[in-house]
Symmetry: C2
Subunit: 504 residues, 2 copies
């Protein structure tokens, strides 16, 4: 049973109002010092944020910020519904300096910890890795570069440059070129029943910027956000950077469960969800759960951020219409991207926002980076209008279906008993569950040494216990690569298998 | 003499801890209601944030946020060193609904005020206009589109697409392609004596994203930031969005005056400055002031954000070296852009950060938008390496010098006594001061009706009294356009002149 410090943790500490350090920095330093000195031992449960806020007469948000930073740095561990504990193993980077009141000597101040702000430290710890640029077996989340009609695109792009009119060379519409936004609106109305006018489409430089922009416009620091558990790391990072209080909500075979979410937080400000294809597990959100989310939004005013990242690639069953299309008075922001359907290098994605918010998103975009690159927009419009986009999607759907079937066949043949795989109904990757006792992070590290790319499943969980498995991309890998990759994967698996106990 | 409410403003109000509304929303609603009902009359001085924070036992930052929002919405006016007053004219959008605790009816909730967060409302009010895309006399801040070597660029870009290798089509380096960063580092070392290695160069999608990224990494909400008064609206907007407490510091003939700044705030977290060419007034920061800023950074740990936006175009005198080059242990972030030296449509700019922070900026970029567009980077590198960039800059410098001389000559001939102009030593615009009694915003509105673009000077001041003048761009306008523009300008001026009293 963990010891709880119920009060008095700051009995020998007082905020210095004259200090140039803000309150949270002083509190952070004091708590960290107490943990490192052993005054608050590992495993100790810390008092509730409300209690500490009262003790120090600061706002509860201040304490929440301090706890968040300590958690990100590994000093404390939060368990939903069970409080915050001092970590059993304090992080080894004890060298990480405190926030200095004033740099002691000018020669060290460039590297000193207060070089970054509290927000900046949190942001800089959220690195998103994107895997190697060169498509290897089994890099997930990238399309088939080898099958992209690069010559058609080059020709269109070169034409766009040759025929550019002078008035397009300056600063452009921050929400994107209206003709392209109209083409996207048509595409979404036809394919996803999304209810939108061109003015509601905001072009961004991809999903990551869409999440960042949405978080900054809809969220204040400390606001509660439901996230899928496990869920997409990119959106989690953007909302963490915006100061969200993340509430992980377990997914089951029907996707995210609103009833489970309500137990932790009945009125989230935002719900982050990928209904077409849950990331990473791949299930489709059931109609019943969709209705429940829409009802939650209607009754509490919660925003639903619908990430429809690769709805284009469905191999079995009919797609359900977008959540955005289900109700005209629920609060839904719809996200799409061209990184999967075309290429990541383009840096083009889009948001569909309610008419009442279109002007706000558009003006906020000017402050963030003025506007998306122009020539890519002009070329993409032509690519869509000439029918190349639709035919490319059709071709990729067929190609990816074959690639997945090949990969599943190979895995079932060579990794039976070690990796349990199921064909995905849609998308560009599948998830294999590892046999008990295999740590996915360690296994993926061993794979990397053998030249195989696979992403471990467990880091997509923000709470323990996580399931251990592999996220295997098949879209970018030609059949020969899939064969070679599975052989290497099987060799590493055999090595791990030998070291594990086997039940008779 | 304004009446001050010293205390008791919230005597009939208590925070509802059970409310789903955060504290700041409750306080905002209460204050706004009190002002609209006349309970706190126009002109009243509000109590200090510290006093109100104590009265409500919330953090001072909470009150500062509420005041900031009320100021942005026009309900209150802040005067540096003199407190915060209820505006004489309350804004007319009284319809703007309060933050609702819960939307009263689902049909209105999409448009209700709590659709956006507090931060989002502030962000959405910061729209940056960029002027018409089509270069007109006298749109400032845009280069000569008519003189851009569009054929060379098109050829390079088409080649880049034709020769692209597959491994470049995926997600790329978030800080930009290293060969381009190396080319920029060479360019800055040679031209601006900037002390940097390629790894310190972070490619962004332009200055606006550079400011946004810097603000989020170096600043926490409420941190004090010195800004030039008057100063650039783009950086002011990005730092406001990040929650900065802006401290306007008057510029004189030597630029920003650190001694004046210290009177208001001796230890700013950040100093925003354009030393090569102050925006919009155009003076160069003197060597003495540069030394003082470097000393301030060394002694207090303040960050200097050096915006070197159009240092390439200097017509007279020698440029002073960049602040960044003056000391290896001062904290300087250096910003540059290709929007002025090439074209805004490219969306490419860069930051030079200290080695110790390069990794943090790089990882933060992944969370914000992953990475800059790739093909533009490849094409720009070739444009630089083949010498096109250097020769384009040389040609533009000559062209702009001629255009400025033409414009100054015309203005002195046709607007003597009404508009006082001086040739700028560098840059792409000049500033003309209007004769007493002419309101620049009204005058520019009249010019717009006559088809002439000019930006009023007074909005670049964040405090009153502002000087009234015109910001006139000359770089983008061929001589015929300058002639026609000045004629129309003179006609509008004559109309205004007739309506003003004349001394003797």
């Amino acid at each position: 049973m963990a010891k709880t410090i119920t009060a008095g943790i700051f009995s020998s500490f007082a905020l210095n109002e004259q200090s140039p350090q803000p309150a949270y920095r002083q509190i952070y330093n004091e708590l960290r010092r107490a943990m490192l000195s052993g005054r608050i031992p590992p495993g100790t449960r810390l008092p509730a944020t409300r209690v500490l806020a009262g003790e120090l007469t600061v706002s509860r948000n201040t304490i929440v910020s301090v706890f968040d930073l300590l958690a990100q740095e590994g000093y404390v561990v939060s368990r939903v519904g069970a409080g915050t504990y001092v970590a059993d193993d304090l992080p080894e980077d004890h060298q990480l300096p405190e926030f200095d009141a004033r740099p002691a000597s000018s020669s060290t101040q460039l590297a000193s910890a207060d070089a970054l702000s509290l927000r900046g430290r949190a942001l800089a710890r959220l690195s998103l890795t994107s895997g190697p640029a060169n498509p290897a077996a089994f890099t997930p989340d990238i399309p088939a570069y080898d099958a992209f009609p690069i010559e058609i695109w080059s020709r269109i792009m070169a034409n766009a440059w040759r025929n550019i009119s002078l008035d397009l060379l300056g600063y452009a519409d921050p929400a994107g070129q209206l003709p392209l936004r109209a083409a996207i609106a048509r595409h979404l109305r036809a394919g996803r029943l999304v209810d939108c006018e061109p003015e509601q489409v905001i072009i961004t430089s991809g999903s990551q910027q869409s999440f960042d922009l949405t978080a900054r416009l809809l969220l204040d620091p400390g606001d509660p956000v439901w996230i899928e558990e496990p869920g997409y790391i990119g959106s989690r990072a953007a909302f963490t950077a915006a100061g969200a209080r993340l509430i992980p909500v377990k997914v089951d075979s029907e996707g995210i469960d609103p009833e489970a979410g309500k137990l932790h937080e009945p009125a989230p400000r935002i719900v982050l969800v990928a209904p077409s294809r849950q990331y990473p597990l791949g299930m489709t959100l059931s109609m019943r759960r969709r209705d429940a989310l829409i009802e939650l939004s209607r009754s509490t005013g919660a925003w639903i951020v619908e990430d429809d990242y690769d709805s284009e690639f469905r191999y079995r069953g009919r797609p359900l219409p977008a959540l955005q299309s289900m109700s005209s008075d629920a609060r839904v922001i719809y996200l799409g991207t061209f990184s999967k359907s075309l290429l990541p290098a383009f840096r083009l994605g889009y948001l569909v926002v309610p008419p009442a918010l279109a002007a706000s998103f558009r003006t906020a975009k000017t402050v963030i980076d003025r506007h998306p690159p122009l020539l890519e927009q002009i070329a993409l419009l032509e690519f869509m209008e000439k029918g190349y986009f639709a035919s490319h999607i059709r071709r990729m759907r067929q190609l990816y279906e074959v690639r997945q079937r090949t990969l599943v066949g190979l895995l079932r043949e060579h990794l039976r008993g070690f990796l349990e795989v199921q064909e995905a109904d849609s998308g560009m990757h599948l998830v294999g569950m590892l046999r008990d006792g295999v740590n996915d992070v360690q296994f993926c590290a061993a794979l990397a040494e053998a030249g195989v790319v696979a992403r471990p499943l467990s880091p997509y969980y923000s709470m323990q216990p996580a399931r251990h498995g592999l996220i295997l991309g098949f879209a970018a890998v030609p059949p020969a690569g899939l064969h070679a990759g599975v052989q290497r994967l099987a060799a590493v698996a055999a090595r791990f298998d030998r070291e594990l106990p086997h039940s008779a």
